[in-house]
């Protein structure tokens, strides 16, 4: 007898349909699986046979052949156990054929016949729905994740026996598995930070125009504290973005037992010992890296000069394209990676330069320290600010500081202005204006042009750094709601300009 079961495989954050065929025919007793399988899928054979026996079904002594379609995609992962079981059961007549029509089956099994959770359920179910699948059989522990997709029937099963029961028309009893992750209540707020108005303002500017930000300051100046609060002033995610982000977390197995899509903007702060694969994603079977997990949120690189040079250099392409593309023999994996980069560093090894009373570094050691920062990465950072040490009085200040929600409302408005202005363009924010369009969107008056020429010479700017100043000035003008860039905007943008290694060295 022949049977066909629908299942799915994850590639990037997309899911591709895979069909499992089973055929039972006369001949030498044999259990064979074909169709470009990776070792963990081949092993499934043993699990299926034993699990079925332990569930109470003995495989007939016949020739059983399993085939996976399409054969040109390599099948990896552990989610094929359950579809193979379903196909075999159907082929030997335990499960009716029509029960498997328009049904997707995913799950791993143990020898005792229990069904185990798999990664990437959310994209699989979402994609199955688009394909016209009406019901899904998923592991019980993936239940909360699967039911986030509306208008599709979800059966979460704990064992093979339960699946057989449901496929034979038995009643499905919904049950609570594990403890759901409570909806996170945001604990962080910009009002937690006393003083530091300069840095706060810089954060607001950065978020308003989606500019990348670099903070330089001594240890204990609150760089990390500030960075952690940046997601709280980003506008809330819309449903499409939430789904995209949730898919990334689902694929990487970090979705846990959330009961709703991810609503919070992510904040990722990888340690500086991170590898290239850990940062941008990779591995033999590619997994999303930190930059994808920071999608639509903030990627915070603390102690920037401590990161390995080649790890940092690899960020350049994803930052331009807003996605990572990993090419492997078995296919191309794409992960979205649209994030704000926030970096922090000390001005020197001991952290106290230019406070000569405290700094114990020699000029040479400071120079070595500066040389560790990658210039190409600096080129992608529009705003750079210094964060001074916090004084005791400030730490215990009781002054009411502005809270994140107020700032966020302003940011939403500025984003709306930009979206309207760039509706016909393929970019959305001021930070993304291509060099060729700067003259058009960041137009200066004649006097301003003269003034900037003077500044250009005085500060020894490069074309790139000059453009960055103009882009930031554009954001400042949008924040003020003015049509044209004013002198004050230019002056403020000059204050935020990025550090120049040369300038740094000269000041030693």
């Amino acid at each position: 007898m022949y049977s066909l079961v629908t299942t799915s495989i994850i590639q990037g954050i997309k899911s591709i349909p895979v069909y499992v065929e089973a055929d039972v025919s006369d001949g030498m007793p044999l259990f064979e699986m074909v169709g470009s399988l990776s070792p963990e899928v081949k092993e499934s054979k043993e699990r299926v046979r034993t699990a079925l026996k332990n569930t109470g079904y003995i495989l007939p002594p016949k020739r059983i052949t399993i085939n996976f379609i399409p054969a040109n995609i390599r099948k990896t992962g552990s989610g094929f156990d359950l579809p193979v079981v379903a196909a075999v059961l159907c082929a030997i007549g335990i499960v009716p054929e029509e029960a498997l029509k328009d049904t997707m089956v995913v799950g791993e099994i143990s020898l005792s016949g229990e069904v185990k959770p798999v990664n990437g359920i959310l994209p699989m179910v979402a994609e199955a729905k688009e394909r016209g699948v009406t019901r899904c059989i998923v592991p019980a522990e993936n239940h909360t994740e699967a039911q986030l997709v509306k208008e599709i029937e979800i059966f979460a099963v704990q064992s093979i026996a339960e699946m057989i029961h449901i496929l034979n028309g038995g009643t499905y009893i919904e049950k609570e598995i594990g403890k759901a992750v409570a909806k996170t209540i945001r604990m962080l707020d910009f009002s937690d930070i006393q003083g530091q108005h300069f840095v706060k303002r810089a954060c607001e500017v950065a978020v308003s125009g989606m500019h990348n930000l670099l903070m330089i300051g001594p240890p204990g100046a609150g760089k990390t504290m500030t960075a952690m609060r940046i997601p709280t002033i980003l506008p809330p995610l819309d449903e499409k973005e939430q789904m995209e982000l949730s898919k990334i977390y689902s694929v990487s197995g970090q979705f846990q037992l959330r009961e709703q899509l991810m609503e919070e903007r992510p904040f990722r702060c990888p340690h500086h010992t991170i590898t290239t694969q850990g940062l941008v994603g990779g591995g033999l079977i590619p997994k999303p890296g930190e930059i994808s997990l920071a999608h639509k949120g903030v990627l915070f690189l603390d102690e920037l000069p401590e990161f390995k040079q080649n790890t940092i250099e690899i960020l350049r392409q994803p930052m331009e394209e807003k996605e990572v593309r990993l090419v492997r023999v078995n296919g191309t994996y794409e992960y979205p990676a649209d994030f704000i980069l926030v970096a922090a560093m000390n001005p020197c090894k001991c952290g106290y330069y230019p406070d000569m009373q405290k700094c114990r570094c020699t000029a040479a050691s400071i120079e070595r320290y500066i040389n560790r920062i990658s210039q190409p990465l600096l080129d992608r950072i529009d705003i750079c600010v210094e964060t001074p040490q916090i004084k005791f009085e400030e730490l215990n200040g009781t002054k009411k500081e502005e809270c994140s929600d107020t700032i966020r409302e302003r940011v939403i408005e500025v984003h709306a202005i930009q979206k309207k202005r760039y509706q016909k363009e393929d970019f959305q924010f001021n930070s993304q204006i291509p060099a060729a369009r700067i003259a058009e969107y960041c137009a200066l008056s004649k006097d301003q042009g003269k003034y900037m020429k003077k500044i250009y010479k005085q500060l020894n700017l490069t074309a790139r750094s000059y453009h960055k100043i103009l882009k930031v000035a554009r954001t400042l003008a949008d924040m003020d709601g003015t049509e044209n860039i004013l002198d004050a905007h230019l002056n403020e943008a000059v204050c935020y300009r990025n550090i120049d290694k040369r300038f740094w060295r000269d000041s030693l």
Binding site: H197, M356, A363, E386, E492, S507
Partner: protein, 359 residues
């Protein structure tokens, strides 16, 4: 001459050994013609040094090498020569040889050494520059070591006033150390000279640097220490100056500033105090001029908010955050005021978002 040049070029034979040799053999030429056995008999020579001397004789073409030195534009002096400066001849451990690129200091003029810490504060930089500038303006010559920090700013000040300035290096005169001072190195060459007791191509090694301080102080009349920590290399120069009977001046600093500890200690021990640059040049009896270049800028040019911010600034770098707090201005306005002040040349950004007054 060629023998003297040869003598100063033997690795492992320093100026002390040479003086010992000269005491026994008489002159460089005589040393050159000593046989190995004779050398071995001389007291105070290790086997290795004897070996180095005989070795050097073999691989050293006297005529060729000396001609090459002349062609490279470096002049050579040794203490066996008449033209060797008498200021150096009488000091303890006088250098046997001197290599000079550019000019030698003009001994008819007042010569002042301006030295201090490499990692110095903005205050130190400004003071060194001002002192250098004022001295050069009054016709004195400024000497220093061309190190980073105070030394460099002393030179820069003197060059700014169009005066002559001289750097004594701890490496060969054709090597610019630190490399970042390349421009300064060239400027000094065109307005003064670079001096070293070590032959050209000598690499900058840490051990060689303290010794050059004795030459700096010996060549000058007065030594000014601008900033020095309690245990600073600049204090070595002060010790040499004391030994050589030169006048020492120090720029005072705040009691709590570790960078001024050395200077304040010197003042306590009786060094001259520089409470103002004008008084200092008066002390030196340099009245050459009444300059009006400084301090006369018209504060009326500033608008009210600008002068408020300007009043908050000093020579100690202040961060943007500090300024915002002190003045109570909001960020966009503050940035605007600061930029205007920078444009009017009243202040400058000394480090990323740190601002200081410009005098």
């Amino acid at each position: 001459m060629k023998y003297q040049y040869w003598l100063s070029n033997i690795p492992g034979v320093g100026c002390k050994t040479i003086h010992r040799l000269l005491g026994q053999a008489g002159s460089a030429e005589e040393i050159y013609f000593l046989k190995k056995e004779q050398l071995e008999k001389l007291s105070g020579l290790s086997d290795r040094q004897v070996h180095a001397i005989t070795d050097r004789k073999k691989n050293w073409n006297l005529e060729e090498k000396y001609a090459a030195l002349g062609e490279s534009g470096i002049s050579f002096l040794s203490c066996e020569m008449e033209s060797y400066p008498k200021q150096l001849r009488n000091i303890v451990d006088a250098p046997y040889s001197l290599y000079i690129k550019g000019k030698m200091p003009d001994f008819s003029k007042r010569r002042v050494a301006v030295v201090g810490a490499r990692m110095c504060s903005e205050y130190g930089k400004k003071m060194a520059e001002q002192i250098g500038e004022k001295l050069a303006f009054c016709g004195a010559e400024v000497l220093s070591g061309m190190a980073r920090g105070i030394d460099a700013y002393g030179h820069i000040g003197a060059l700014k006033a169009g005066g002559n300035t001289y750097a004594v290096l701890g490496c060969g005169v054709n090597i610019c150390y630190p490399r970042t001072n390349q421009k300064l190195y060239e400027d000094i060459l065109s307005h003064g000279g670079i001096i070293s007791e070590y032959p050209p191509e000598t690499e900058p090694i840490a051990q060689l640097f303290p010794a050059r301080n004795r030459i700096i102080s010996a060549l000058s009349d007065v030594v000014v220490i601008v900033e020095a920590k309690e245990r600073s290399g600049s204090l070595i120069t002060a010790d040499f100056a004391l030994e050589q009977g030169k006048d020492i001046y120090a720029v005072p600093g705040r009691v709590t500033d570790s960078l001024s500890m050395g200077c304040n200690n010197l003042i306590r021990q009786g060094a001259g105090i520089i409470n103002s640059v004008e008084d200092f040049v008066k002390d030196l009896e340099l009245y050459a001029c009444n300059d009006t270049t400084q301090e006369n800028f018209n504060k009326l040019l500033l608008e009210k908010d600008e002068s408020l911010v300007y009043a908050c600034l000093s020579l100690r770098p202040k961060s943007m955050e500090e300024l915002l707090k002190k003045t109570g201005f909001a960020m966009p306005q503050m940035a605007d005021i600061l930029q205007r002040l920078i444009q009017k040349d009243f202040i400058t950004e000394s480090f990323k978002n740190y601002y200081i007054r410009k005098i």
